[in-house]
């Protein structure tokens, strides 16, 4: 490199897979000039479990729990995407009651996922305390999941064609209570962080990704919206009845780490708005559509994508007419967004690199699958 300082030698630093802030088992090989990053290379695959291959050897229903293990902090969203894909493949209509419950649980999941992101991101930037606050609030959401389906993390909350479980007594009140507590808490995080000059100084202008670059890399989700692109699959191609709900798509301007932080906080508020509307008018009726005991879709293929907390989560399923998919391909948002790491990190400092890894909001289970 010609632009190194005083012809100093470059330092190649291996961050991860055992490193406190690589969010699991990401390995980043960083080339440093002093503290300045002149190049990165991601090594992934330490959490590879062959999820897509497993899909080829299971029936459609059997594979549903596996998708929860990809993005394990947003397992409900994963499940929703898969169920929608299979439902489209076999042409099943999901009853409105099931759709409303799906929306409530998925949006709760979005809040939970963003809370995990906020806590860990703040920890990466050096603020130790928000992690404990966000996990306290996340607990309320996980308790609802536990009461509803018995599991907290890998929930398998939805079934192909609708829901397996009817809502428990008092579900609506608990969801409303969570909505009421979370809004002031989000303001509290903002007080702790947004007004803090060190926090703003660490995030503003760091890891800028313009709208054009986002499109080139295929970056979706909050990262794309922070760059100013008003693109949200819930609005662009509504699924599961999202068209009935009134909500905004928060966008940023600069596409830097600070904007992504603001966008995600605002998304949590919008999720609360959706949940409140949905919980007030859960329709009566059946919770399961007409799904055959043995799912044998016609020969064909389907691609269904949803707006997961981290971006566009897509399922591409090819059916050969048997009870097992011929191919299941997952388009995970974390994996695609992670590609932009090198673009964002070049020229930044080591401390910025950590903030940038945090702002992508990766879950390695989803990157490696």
């Amino acid at each position: 490199m010609a632009d190194t300082f005083l012809d100093s030698t470059e330092l190649v630093l291996n961050m991860g897979p055992q490193h406190p802030s690589t969010h699991g088992v990401l390995r980043v090989i960083v080339k440093l000039d002093g503290e300045r990053v002149i190049g990165t290379e991601c090594v992934i695959g330490y959490l590879h479990r062959g999820v897509e291959k497993i899909g080829e050897n299971r029936t459609y229903q059997q594979f549903a729990p596996y998708v929860d293990r990809m993005d394990y902090v947003a397992s409900v969203s994963n499940g929703l995407g898969y169920c929608l894909a299979v439902e489209k493949l076999i042409g099943v209509e999901v009853p409105p009651r099931a759709q409303a419950v799906r929306v409530i649980l998925t949006e709760l999941n979005r809040i939970a996922s963003h809370l995990v992101w906020l806590g860990t991101h703040a920890l990466d930037v050096g603020a130790l305390t928000p992690l404990f606050y966000t996990f306290r609030e996340r607990e309320d959401i996980l308790n609802i999941y536990e009461k509803y389906c018995g599991a907290r993390l890998t929930t398998h909350a939805f079934r192909i064609g609708g829901l397996q479980y009817e809502l428990y007594e008092g579900f609506e009140d608990e969801v409303r209570a969570v909505c009421d507590t979370i809004l002031p808490k989000i303001d509290e995080y903002e007080q702790l962080l947004t007004g803090n000059r060190i926090w703003v100084g660490r995030l503003k202008g760091v890891g800028i990704l313009t709208a054009e670059e986002c499109k080139q890399y295929g970056v979706t989700g909050p990262m794309l919206r922070a760059a100013g692109v008003k693109w949200d699959l819930r609005k662009a191609q509504p699924y599961s009845g999202y068209e009935q709900y009134d909500f905004e798509i928060p966008v940023g301007q600069n596409g830097d780490t600070f904007d992504r932080y603001i966008v995600r906080l605002e998304e949590m508020r919008q999720s609360v708005r959706i949940i409140r509307q949905a919980v007030d008018r859960i329709p009566d009726g059946p919770i399961m559509g007409k799904v055959p005991k043995v799912i044998k879709p016609p020969v064909g293929e389907v691609y269904v994508s949803i707006e997961a907390p981290k971006g566009e989560l897509g399922y591409y399923i090819v059916s050969d007419g048997s009870t097992q998919p011929y191919r299941v391909r997952v388009r995970p948002p974390s994996f695609v967004n992670l590609q932009a790491l090198d673009k964002m990190a070049r020229g930044a400092l080591v401390a910025d690199l950590v903030a940038i890894i945090g702002t992508i909001d990766i879950v390695l289970g989803e990157v490696d699958r």
Binding site: L11, L13, N14, H19, P20, S21, G34, E35, A122, L123, D124, V125, G126, A127, L128, T129, L131, F132, Y133, R136, L192, L193, N196, I198, W199, G201, R202, L349, V350, A351, D352, V354
Partner: protein, 396 residues
Amino acid sequence: MNFFLLSAIKMAMVMGVLMLTLLYLQWAERKVVAHIQVRLGPYRVGPHGLLQPIADTLKLLLKEDLTPPGVNKGLYVFAPFLAITLSLISIVVIPFGPAIEVAGVQTWMQLTDLNVGVVFVLAISSLAVYGIVLAGWASNSKYPLLGSLRSAAQMISYELPLGLTIAAPLLMANTLSLREIVLSQSHYYWGWIPAWNVLHGPLPQVIAFVVFMIAAFAETNRIPFDLPEAETELVAGFHTEYSSMKFAGFFMAEYANMFTVCSMATVLFLGGWLPPWPAEKGSVFFPSVMFAAAGLIALRHGLYRARPRDRRSFQVIAMVSFGLAALFLIPAFAQFFSPLFWFGLKTGLLLFTFIWVRGTLPRFRYDQLMRFAWSFLFPVAAVNLMATALLVAIFG
């Protein structure tokens, strides 16, 4: 009495109290941060985790002492010893209280009063960077190297504002001896307001005090300036490759440094062991009132305890507090311990600030840290020093 014997006794006492303070400072930090973070903190080892520091020390003593391959053996072993020695040595000149008389022997509550005490502390704290730099270099590993590079730049940068802010009260006290600096703050304005250097004319050193504290955070590598050991960036920074008692050495050095800078702030700006208002106007009763109030609070928690494990602990704490309150009413006891109480209270409050900030703020970035030191702290400290010098020349 024999000078050496007296010194040895004093040394043993200071060392004993200091080591205990350092151990429990760590406990206090864990407790305070835990409560900020809606946790309980240490709770299992002894009542309220009070035996946790001892358990930790034992654990560290018994751990295998690893020496990674490829290290520079001599420096690797030397660095933690250097760090701990240098951080403890400045305690020597810090005055904890006034002259006392025990069994006919008159002495000061201070190990030694160097007439260049302030300069001595500055010199020693400048050397402290060697412990960290050598550790980073000798470890032959990349994270420690980056950590030690950061700390070298950081500590040298923050030494300057620190020195400049110390110079301002020196101008007002017109001495370099820490004992005399305290004594120069011993009168009261209008009988009430203490003439501590933060409030003392001709120029109250509030700015210097704040800048001193900020620089002290950087000198001790605490959040928001904990870049040398930034956990989420550099794993553990300069002590990544250290284990067992060598790690404990660095750990203890950090806490000893915190204690030293807080004591220095107390002595230089907050009037050392002097009470905030005159003894004859009731400050002698303050310790009793405070301990009694603490006792009452503890008693209330004891009566309406939240957890089964607190069956007896709060009652015991309440009794101890009431006992201390009663002891401070005995004049002979109060005369001896009041100065220590005030010194401890002021230093303790400053230490609490250190812990509080750790629970609140994120970390600076390397370039921001440098810019902050050179383009903000340094000019502010320099202007403050010049203003003080001018005012002292006119009015002093």
